[in-house]
Symmetry: C2
Subunit: 201 residues, 2 copies
């Protein structure tokens, strides 16, 4: 992270960040590919070419948006989970925070990542790879914590951490999809219960 005192670059940083957060927000609704430069610029109250000065291409913008979303989730969700002790508490905290984030966070269209995983932007290799990396990080986070819990004796000896990580993820993905589709918060409550049931015994 190179810190600059150059006012021009600082201003650029700031507006670049504003562009990217708005783009991430809009993407959860209009899709990563469906978001157009024109509408994004209009939404920001700036010219299309002014916006475009920050990025080489649409794909470049998309990659930056994914990166931004990773940072947002890290700051808003992952950090909250990290406050709890490793193992089951950390997983449960993540799930609860995540589910609340879906409903009230900066992504009106539901989880940015889940929406993006199935977006046509995945036809672009670099975009798909960036998204896959993010998802792999999450699955590893779950698996590691499951393993910790297992060693602690909070989970049976014979479970497969990566298999259980996949099931935890599935509950959250299912919750997001159904919540977005039915616009019914009860789906999120159910997911909370399911996670606890899966980990609780």
């Amino acid at each position: 992270m190179t810190t600059t005192t150059d006012g021009r670059r600082l201003r650029g940083e700031r507006s670049r960040r504003a562009i990217l957060e708005a783009a991430a927000t809009l993407s959860s609704v209009e899709g990563l590919e469906g978001l157009s430069l024109g509408r994004l610029a209009e939404h920001l109250g700036m010219s299309k070419s002014g916006l475009y000065a920050h990025f080489d291409s649409k794909e470049d913008l998309q990659l930056a948006v994914v990166e931004t979303a990773v940072a947002m989730y890290g700051r808003d969700v992952m950090a909250k989970a990290a406050e709890h002790e490793p193992g089951i508490p950390q997983i449960v905290a993540f799930a609860d925070t995540f589910l609340e984030y879906i409903a009230t966070g900066p992504f009106p269209g539901g989880c940015f990542f889940i929406a993006s995983f199935l977006d046509p932007a995945n036809l672009r290799r670099p975009v798909k790879d960036a998204l896959a990396r993010a998802q792999k990080t999450l699955l590893d986070f779950f698996a590691t914590n499951v393993d910790v819990a297992r060693r602690k004796g909070d989970l049976p000896e014979d479970i497969d951490p990566s298999e259980m990580a996949y099931e935890i993820d599935a509950i959250l993905v299912g919750a997001d999809v159904n919540f977005v589709l039915f616009e019914d918060p009860v789906r999120l409550e159910r997911a909370r219960a399911s996670v606890r049931r899966l980990l609780g015994g």
Copy 2:
């Protein structure tokens, strides 16, 4: 279903069906909103206006595509499940058939519905409603069979059918998303195991 012997209409029916099946297939990759009339026409080897004569608007086409996908899943997946006895066998058969369908069926981009649930086409009310109806039908199918299994004594008395239906759905949704993202069939195997674990014991 009005059967006609009019050759003109028959020809129309046939090409309309061809258009819709191709559109459903392409939609699973390019998205329901991202699919353009031009590319669809080109893929079919016909003119854009010739294709457009079958539909009043893009939204009208999208609605017909959803309807077509419902029919395809009914014919290819639901029918297979219906051959098994109600209860756990029917659920397991559905899951297995569905997971195989994802990998080898006519939808190269994974499950048409799951992709569509998060597609920007959902900004159109009628499209979203049609998709929600389809998903509700599936959840009811699961819940009904869970209830049958419960009455049979194959599942504990105290489970909530609609809650368990949601968990079965989540496993399948999670499998689809991860399979599409990682292009790894192992995800589908895991889902088969998860469904059995959830229903088994």
